[in-house]
C-alpha cells in the first residue's frame, strides 16, 4: 500500500493557524506513507496535478488530502484521482479547515488536532477499496410544485427543453402572489400584463400537464424515479366542458369573502378566481354553496349552457413517476395581527401592503380606487416598513422586498391621488438592486416624506383636536431624535414574507431540511443554492427565502437547468455506498429485513438467508449496525475502515 498525503494551506485559512510543515513532517513518518507534501491551494489546477503526478510516478494507491471539508471539495479531488487513473474512492479527506483551523484559536491545539485527523485518514485509506459509482436511469419528467411565478417559469423552461412537466397548484388557478400585484418595482410595468402571457403559455404548452386545485399527498424518494401521489380536489365543475363564461357566478346566490381580494370584496359560491385565471374554469366552494349546505338552488346547473356542473365529483388520486422535483411553493405574508400595537384588524383603515396592491389594481375590489372604509379618499397615508421583519419578537431576518414595495406604494399613491401626503416609516432603506436606488431617489423627488423611525404604536385616540378621526402613528424620528405624532387617514403595513404554512410538511415529504426561519435549506449557500440534500429535488423562489420577482425568475431558471442537466445526462450517478452481505456468515435471523426503509433487503426463499437489492439500497447502514453476525457491511463505510479511522484518531 502506497499512500500520498497532501496538506493544503488554503492560503492562510489553514496555514494561518495550523503549522502545516509540522503536519507534513509527522505524516511522512506514518506507515504506508510514500509521500507527504503541502501546497498553497490543493484544489487549484497545479495542486491537483501534484497528486496526479505522484499517482503516475510513485504508483500511489491511496490518497489523503487534508484541506477543507469533504462536503466542499471531495468531488474535485476524486476527479483528480480518476484523471490520474486511480480509483476516486481511494481518497480520504481530513477536514482541517472547517473542523480545525476555523474553529480553534490556539495554533498548538490546532496543529495537534490536524495531526490526529490526518493520521486517522491515513489509517482509514489504507483499508479502503476501489468502488464504482452506480448509475440509476433518470425519468425524463419533472414535477413542479407551486404555480407562482417561480413555478411557472421553471415549468416553462423544462417544457421548452422537451421534457414532460407536471405543474401542481393547490389553488384553483395558477399565478400565485404575483397575480395579485398591480405594478412591479422599479419599472412599474403592470404585473398582470407580464404574468398572464406566461400563465396562458402553461396551458398552451403540450409538454405541461397542469394539475390545478391539486396537492402532493406523498412521495417515495427513489433517485431518478420519484413515485408521487397527487390528490386532485373536486371543482364540482367539469373542466373539459366549462368555458369560463362565468354566467353561473352572476346567477349564483351564494356569497363568500373573495380570497383573491383578501376578503375585501365578496365572490359567489361558484366562481372564477379572477378574470385572468388559468385555467379559466369555474369552481364551487362547498361551504357557501346552497346545494351543498341546504340541498337547494342548483341555479348554476340551470344556467350552464355547457352543463359542466357536476355535484358528484369526488377527489381524484393520481400516481406519477418523475425524474426530478422542483419545489416553488412560495411564501406566506406575515400576519399583521400579531403586532398588536399597530391595531391591524381593529383599526379599519390600517391595511396590509397586499391589500393595498389589490386596492390599486384596476380589477380589484375598489376598481383601482384608493379609498378609506367609508369611501372617502385619504388625504394622508403612512407606510410602515419591516412589519414582522427585523424584530426579535417575530422574524429576525429582513424580508428584502418591503422597502422597494413600500416605495412603489408611495409612488402609486402620488400617482392615484396627486394631493395626498405620504409618510414612509423605515428603519434602514434597503434599495440594493438594479435601478432600485434610482427609484428611491425618484420617489423622494415626488414629495414622499421619509421618516427614519419605526412607529411605536398606532392609535385612533386623539390627544389634540387635529387628531380627531385620524389614525395617529407615534414614532421617534431618529434623525431629529424626537418622538412625534403623525395623524393620517390610512396606514399601509409592509408585511414581511414568511415560509408557507405547508413548508414543514413539504420539507418532510420531500426529505429536505429547513433553516431556522422555516425556509427550505439549500445544499450549499454559495455553490448549490437551488439544490437540496436530496438528489433530484430542487428549490426555487420565495420558498427558499424572501425574494423579489426577478430573483425568483432567475432562481427558477437555475433550478430548471439543474433538473434538465440531470435528465439530459439520462442517468444519475449514485454513490457506490451499498450494503453487502456475506452469505457464509448470514444465519437468516431476519433482524435486518424489516429495518430497511427502502425494502432493499429480502429473504432468499430457497436458503432462508438474506440478500441485498443493490438498486434500492441507499447506503444508510442501519442494517449493517444491526446485523448481529457481522454478515452485513457497507461499502465505503466498512466496519474495519471506521474502526481504523477511530484507532488513528485516538492513536
Amino acid at each position: 500500500m502506497k499512500i500520498g498525503v497532501y496538506i493544503c494551506h488554503c492560503g492562510t485559512n489553514i496555514a494561518g493557524v495550523v503549522d502545516v510543515a509540522k503536519v507534513v513532517e509527522f505524516a511522512a513518518t506514518l506507515p504506508n506513507v510514500a509521500v507527504a507534501r503541502d501546497y498553497k491551494y490543493m484544489c487549484s489546477e497545479p495542486g491537483q496535478n501534484l497528486i496526479g503526478e505522484d499517482i503516475r510516478h510513485l504508483g500511489l494507491d491511496g490518497v489523503v488530502v487534508a484541506a477543507c471539508s469533504p462536503t466542499m471539495h471531495e468531488p474535485t479531488f476524486q476527479t483528480a484521482l480518476s484523471r490520474a487513473g486511480a480509483n476516486p474512492y481511494m481518497l480520504q479527506m481530513a477536514s482541517i479547515r472547517e473542523h480545525v483551523s476555523w474553529v480553534t484559536s490556539d495554533p498548538v491545539e490546532a496543529t495537534e488536532k490536524a495531526k490526529k485527523l490526518v493520521e486517522a485518514a491515513i489509517s482509514r485509506v489504507s483499508l479502503q477499496e476501489p468502488l464504482e459509482k452506480r448509475r440509476i436511469p433518470v425519468k425524463q419528467s419533472v414535477l413542479v410544485v407551486g404555480g407562482g411565478i417561480a413555478g411557472i417559469e421553471a415549468a416553462l423552461k423544462c417544457a421548452d427543453a422537451g421534457k414532460k412537466v407536471y405543474l401542481v397548484e393547490k389553488e384553483p388557478s395558477i399565478g400565485g402572489h404575483m397575480a395579485m400585484f398591480d405594478k412591479t418595482f422599479p419599472t412599474l410595468d403592470c404585473s398582470q400584463c407580464i404574468l398572464t402571457p406566461k400563465m396562458v403559455e402553461v396551458v398552451r404548452n403540450e409538454n405541461i400537464e397542469l394539475l390545478d386545485y391539486s396537492e402532493v399527498r406523498e412521495i417515495s424518494v427513489h433517485v431518478g424515479d420519484f413515485k408521487v401521489s397527487i390528490v386532485r380536489k373536486p371543482r364540482y365543475v367539469d373542466s373539459s366542458k366549462c368555458t369560463g363564461c362565468a354566467v353561473c357566478s352572476t346567477k349564483c346566490p351564494g356569497k363568500a369573502p373573495d380570497e383573491f381580494n383578501l376578503g375585501m370584496s365578496k365572490r359567489k359560491a361558484i366562481y372564477v378566481p379572477f378574470p385572468q385565471a388559468v385555467p379559466l374554469k369555474a369552481v364551487i366552494d362547498r361551504e357557501s354553496c346552497l346545494y351543498f349546505q341546504k340541498n337547494i338552488c342548483k341555479v348554476c346547473v340551470k344556467f350552464c349552457s355547457a352543463d359542466a356542473i357536476d355535484f358528484e365529483q369526488k377527489p381524484e388520486e393520481l400516481e406519477l413517476g418523475v425524474g426530478a422535483v422542483i419545489l416553488a411553493t412560495g411564501f406566506k405574508p406575515f400576519d399583521a395581527r400579531r403586532v398588536s400595537e399597530y391595531g391591524y384588524g381593529k383599526l379599519p383603515n390600517v391595511i396590509t401592503s397586499l391589500e393595498f396592491e389589490r386596492m390599486t389594481s384596476a380589477s380589484g375590489p375598489t376598481a383601482g380606487k384608493i379609498v378609506l372604509k367609508d369611501g372617502r379618499e385619504p388625504e394622508s397615508v403612512a407606510i410602515v416598513h419591516c412589519v414582522g421583519s427585523r424584530n426579535v419578537n417575530y422574524n429576525v431576518y429582513c424580508s428584502k422586498i418591503c422597502c422597494m414595495q413600500s416605495l412603489k406604494h408611495a409612488h402609486l399613491l402620488k400617482e392615484h391621488l396627486p394631493g395626498v401626503a405620504v409618510y414612509d416609516f423605515f428603519i434602514d432603506m434597503r434599495a440594493a438592486g438594479k435601478g432600485y436606488e434610482e427609484f428611491y431617489k425618484r420617489v423622494m423627488g415626488e414629495g414622499t416624506i421619509m421618516v427614519r423611525g419605526r412607529p411605536a404604536y398606532i392609535t385612533d385616540v386623539p390627544s389634540k383636536p387635529e387628531e380627531k378621526g385620524k389614525l395617529v402613528l407615534v414614532a421617534e424620528d431618529t434623525v431629529l431624535s424626537t418622538v412625534m405624532r403623525y395623524p393620517v387617514d390610512m396606514v399601509v403595513l409592509s408585511v414581511g414574507l414568511e415560509a408557507g404554512e405547508d413548508a414543514k410538511e413539504l420539507a418532510h415529504t420531500f426529505t429536505c431540511s429547513r433553516t431556522a426561519d422555516g425556509f427550505f435549506l439549500e445544499r450549499h449557500p454559495k455553490l448549490a443554492p437551488v439544490s437540496t440534500p436530496t438528489a433530484g429535488v430542487f428549490i426555487a423562489g420565495a420558498s427558499q427565502g424572501p425574494k423579489d420577482i426577478p430573483e425568483s425568475v432567475a432562481q427558477a431558471g437555475a433550478a430548471a437547468a439543474e433538473a434538465l442537466a440531470m435528465m439530459g445526462k439520462g442517468y444519475f450517478e449514485l454513490e457506490p455506498y451499498v450494503a453487502r452481505i456475506d452469505e457464509d456468515l448470514c444465519s437468516g435471523c431476519g433482524i435486518c429485513l424489516d429495518l430497511c426503509a427502502y425494502n432493499a433487503l429480502e429473504r432468499i426463499p430457497e436458503t432462508g438467508l438474506t440478500r441485498v437489492v443493490e438498486a434500492l439500497c441507499q447506503g444508510c447502514g442501519a442494517c449493517v449496525a444491526a446485523c448481529p453476525s457481522n454478515a452485513l457491511d457497507l461499502d465505503g463505510f466498512k466496519n474495519n475502515q471506521i474502526m481504523a479511522e477511530l484507532e488513528g484518531i485516538l492513536a
Binding site: 448470514c586 432462508g608 449496525a625 444491526a626 453476525s629 457481522n630
Partner: protein, 321 residues
C-alpha cells in the same frame, strides 16, 4: 509396550471452572472408553487419579492435546495455564470459561476484592463474619488477579471449543482430528461460523417487537422465533454448532458459544440488533422511547453472561476509590 508410546497424550486441566465441561465428557458414554483406548491421559484431576506432579513430570510440549476448562481469576489458575502452555503441543480453550471467561468472568462486573469479601465474609449464612482472609501460609487462598481473563488473554491458545458445556459432537470432532493427526490451523473454532438461528428450526416471520418479556411472563409459542415473541434470545449474535439445543427445548439462547467470527463483542451485537427491532413499528416524530427497556434491568448480565472478559470493554471501570 510399543503401541503405548505411540498413543497420543491427552491432559485435561482446570482453571476457575465448575468442571461441568469435564463431566460432560462422560456423556460420550462408551465412546469415552474408545478414547481412553486410543490416547494416554496423563493428567485429569476430575476424571482420574492424577496429581499436578504428573503433569509437571511430562517433558515440555510432551502432551499432544491439553483441554483447559475454566477462566483465569487467581494465581493458581494463571500458574496452571502457563504450565499447560509449556507442556502442550496443542492447547485448547475448553468450554465457554476457557474461551471467553464464562460465568466466572462476571466478576469483572465488580471488583474482585469486593466479591471475595462478599463470598467469604458477607454471606448471610456465615456466622464468623469477622474472620480475616489469609492469602499466606499452608491453607492460604490463592491470590486473586485484578480481574478474570479468558485463557487466550494470558497464554497462547491453539484451538477453541466453546460451549457450556461444549457440544459433544464438537469435542469428538477435535479428538478425531487430533487422533487422525490432522493439521489444525491455529485459532480454529470447533463451532459453526453462522449464528444459532441458522440451526434453529423455529419459524421466523417478522422481527419487530413492542415489548420485552421475561421468560416466565409468557407462554412462548414453541414453533415461532422466541425473539419475535419478545423474549431476549441471544441466538442471532451467537455461534452455532450446538444445534440450537436450548431453543429446541423452548429456552432462549444465552450465548454460551460466544461471538461470531469478525465480531468482537456479541453482547453489543445483540444489544444493537434488539434495540433496532424494538418498537420498530412505532417510528415517528411523536414516538417516545423512554423506558422501553425497563424490562431489561441488567443488560450486562443478559448480554455478557459468558463473554464479559473477552468483550471490548472487558470489565467494569475500576473505581478510583
Amino acid at each position: 509396550m510399543k503401541p503405548e508410546r505411540t498413543k497420543p497424550k491427552l491432559a485435561i486441566a482446570l482453571g476457575a471452572t465448575c468442571s461441568g465441561c469435564d463431566y460432560s465428557l462422560l456423556d460420550l458414554g462408551a465412546g469415552l472408553l474408545d478414547v481412553t483406548d486410543q490416547v494416554e491421559i496423563v493428567y485429569w484431576p476430575t476424571g482420574i487419579d492424577s496429581k499436578l506432579e504428573d503433569l509437571q513430570a511430562v517433558p515440555d510440549r510432551g502432551v499432544d492435546l491439553i483441554l483447559f476448562d475454566g477462566a483465569v481469576v487467581n494465581e493458581d489458575n494463571l500458574e496452571m495455564a502457563r504450565l499447560c502452555r509449556k507442556k502442550a503441543k496443542m492447547l485448547a480453550a475448553f468450554g465457554s470459561c476457557g474461551a471467553y471467561g464464562g460465568i466466572p468472568g462476571l466478576i469483572n462486573s465488580g471488583s474482585p476484592k469486593k466479591i471475595l469479601l462478599e463470598v467469604y465474609q458477607g454471606l448471610p449464612t456465615r456466622s464468623d463474619k469477622a474472620e480475616a482472609l489469609n492469602f499466606e501460609g499452608e491453607d492460604a487462598l490463592p491470590k486473586m488477579l485484578g480481574q478474570a481473563y479468558s485463557l487466550d488473554q494470558v497464554v497462547d491458545v491453539d484451538v477453541y471449543l466453546p460451549g457450556c458445556p461444549p457440544p459433544l459432537k464438537l469435542v469428538a470432532g477435535l479428538l478425531t482430528d487430533v487422533l487422525a493427526g490432522k493439521a489444525i490451523p491455529k485459532g480454529t473454532f470447533y463451532a459453526s461460523n453462522r449464528a444459532v438461528c441458522y440451526e434453529c428450526k423455529r419459524v421466523k416471520e417478522n422481527k419487530s417487537i413492542d415489548a420485552i418479556h421475561r421468560y416466565h411472563e409468557i407462554q412462548p409459542d414453541p414453533t415461532r422465533c422466541l425473539l419475535e415473541q419478545g423474549i431476549v434470545c441471544l441466538g442471532p449474535a451467537t455461534r452455532g454448532g450446538c444445534d440450537a439445543v436450548c431453543c429446541t427445548q423452548n429456552q432462549p439462547c444465552r450465548g454460551c458459544m460466544g461471538a461470531l467470527p469478525h465480531s468482537e463483542d456479541s453482547g453489543a451485537e445483540m444489544m444493537s440488533a434488539l434495540a433496532s427491532i424494538m418498537e420498530l413499528n412505532n417510528e415517528n416524530k411523536e414516538a417516545d422511547y423512554t423506558g422501553i427497556f425497563d424490562g431489561l434491568n441488567d443488560p450486562l448480565g443478559t448480554f455478557y453472561t459468558f463473554t464479559l472478559p473477552k468483550s471490548i470493554l472487558g470489565r467494569r471501570k475500576v473505581d478510583q476509590s
